[in-house]
């Protein structure tokens, strides 16, 4: 079935490519071999990345699901990484962030703390790139619940980044983006981080302060 898939790729028969690879993976699952099943889906996704990225993403996510069912999350890291990069290429940042959080979850299950913390930091950066500091802070708060992230280098970097955003200090943001912690992340994320800050950081700061003023007004009224 896989050879049929690669032949279809040569023929540029894209829908058939996906179908062939899916059929191949189903057959593998029937044999009870999950790893080759996910491998087949990955191959199909890689082939379709350039041409039909949405299909590729679907294949990637299905592959990840198969591995997670089988308890082999470690193998899924590469798939998550590929899926994230495709999402970012498509500029679907919220989906990218969601994938990163799922990656973090998978890393948590197999106690890969370094990958987990990196995934969370990448998610925060993606939200900041969207110029959505509230989302980023929410994400940060969620991640802080996790012990391993709280104790890590990446957490410190995230705190610095968020405080720099809160203060509207562009220089500081640029300086943090150059730091070694961010350089160790995936290169797609590094590119996003280097482009920070997007938009007007001062405006963000005004919004934040305005939000703080409203509760005071309520107090005055009552």
């Amino acid at each position: 079935m896989e050879s049929a898939g690669s032949l279809a790729k040569e023929l540029r028969n894209w829908s058939e490519v996906a179908d062939f690879y899916r059929r191949a993976s189903e057959l593998y699952i029937e044999c009870g071999r999950s790893q080759p099943a996910s491998d087949a889906l990955t191959k199909g996704a890689r082939v379709l990345e350039e041409v039909v990225p949405e299909e590729a993403i679907k294949l990637y996510t299905d592959a990840c699901a198969i591995l997670e069912e089988d308890g082999k999350e470690q193998m899924a890291f590469d798939l998550y990484r590929a899926a994230t990069s495709v999402y970012i290429k498509l500029e679907k940042f919220t989906d990218a962030a969601a994938t990163l959080l799922r990656w973090g979850l998978a890393a948590d299950k197999c106690n890969a703390t370094n990958s987990q913390c990196k995934a969370y930091l990448s998610a925060i950066i993606v939200y900041l790139y969207l110029h959505d500091s509230t989302q980023a802070e929410k994400c940060y708060n969620d991640c802080s619940q996790i012990d391993a992230f709280l104790r890590s280098d990446q957490n410190r970097c995230a705190t610095k980044l968020l405080s720099a955003y809160a203060e509207g200090d562009v220089e500081e943001i640029k300086h943090i983006a150059q730091s070694s912690t961010i350089t160790h992340l995936d290169h797609v994320i590094i590119r996003l981080a280097r482009k920070l800050p997007t938009g007007d950081v001062a405006a963000l700061e005004n919004n934040a302060s305005k939000e703080q003023e409203e509760p005071l007004d309520e107090n005055d009224l009552t």
């Binding site: 470690q74 193998m75 197999c110 106690n111 890969a112 370094n114 280098d153 070694s180 160790h184």
Partner: protein, 265 residues
């Protein structure tokens, strides 16, 4: 008889015959009641001793011992200056049996002695070739209370120039060290990240390697079995009885073929 005994005996004999020592008697008689002359000769001998010590300090390579010798020389000098003050007073006193000229010369003698005492080098004037302020501690100038202000200011300025130069150098070195430490810290960060990733990668590969191990074990035992069976089969095939039978049958076949060939020709 040991050396100590000899020494004691010699000392006793010398003491006994001291009154016959011509030179000693001459000195004592010469100075006799003259306190000035006595003090003068004492100061002179001390001065010579101090001069010798300072010369030794100059050639001494060990800084600690040279510093100690210099300190001793300085102490001796201070003491000698006090004695010279006493000498001054004595010089004014009139001594019988001394001419007026002699009295005058005594003052001059004391002055000359004072100059000689002050001229003894005692390591306070160190050369200024050392950089920074390290020489500041050794090249402390003599604190004079009644010296003119201009003189003081000059000395002050030199000190602060050296001190500021030293401070500047210290700041530069600190900055360079900080830069170096930054580079090292970046390198260490990268190493830490690499190590973490390697750790996770190895964790990932542990179950894979276990599986490989099992599969390879199975394959190895299969191969062993196959080999054994192959050996048995080969033995059976190559047994000599089968060989002879094969040769005979071959000859028979050849015979039949040649007969047929002849018959058909």
């Amino acid at each position: 008889m040991s050396v100590i005994d000899i020494r004691f005996r010699v000392d006793a004999i010398c003491k006994k015959f001291d009154k016959y020592d011509v030179e000693k008697q001459r000195d004592r008689n010469a100075h006799g009641d003259d306190a000035f002359a006595r003090l003068y000769s004492a100061v002179e001998s001390d001065l010579d001793a101090a001069l010798e010590k300072s010369q030794r300090a100059a050639v001494e390579t060990n800084r600690a011992s040279s510093a100690a010798l210099n300190a001793e020389v300085r102490r001796t000098k201070a003491r000698l200056m006090e004695e010279i003050a006493k000498l001054y007073k004595l010089a004014q006193k009139k001594v019988k049996g001394l001419s007026k000229d002699d009295q005058m010369t005594r003052n001059d003698l004391v002055l000359a002695l004072q100059e000689r005492v002050q001229a003894i080098p005692d390591g306070t004037i160190a050369p200024h070739k050392q950089s920074g302020g390290w020489s500041a501690s050794t090249s402390r100038e003599n604190i004079k209370f009644d010296s003119s202000d201009g003189h003081l200011q000059d000395g002050f300025f030199q000190q602060t120039e050296e001190a500021s130069q030293f401070r500047h150098e210290y700041e530069m070195r600190k900055m360079k060290q900080d830069e170096g430490l930054d580079v090292i810290s970046e390198g260490l960060d990268t190493l830490k990240d690499l190590a973490h990733d390697m750790n996770e990668e190895l964790d990932r590969q542990v179950p894979l390697v276990d599986e490989i191990d099992n599969k390879v074990d199975r394959a190895a035992s299969d191969l062993k079995n196959t080999n054994v069976r192959l050996k048995e089969t080969l033995f059976k095939i190559r047994s000599s009885r089968n060989f002879c039978i094969d040769i005979i049958l071959l000859c028979v076949i050849l015979g039949i073929v040649s007969y047929l060939y002849n018959a058909l020709r």
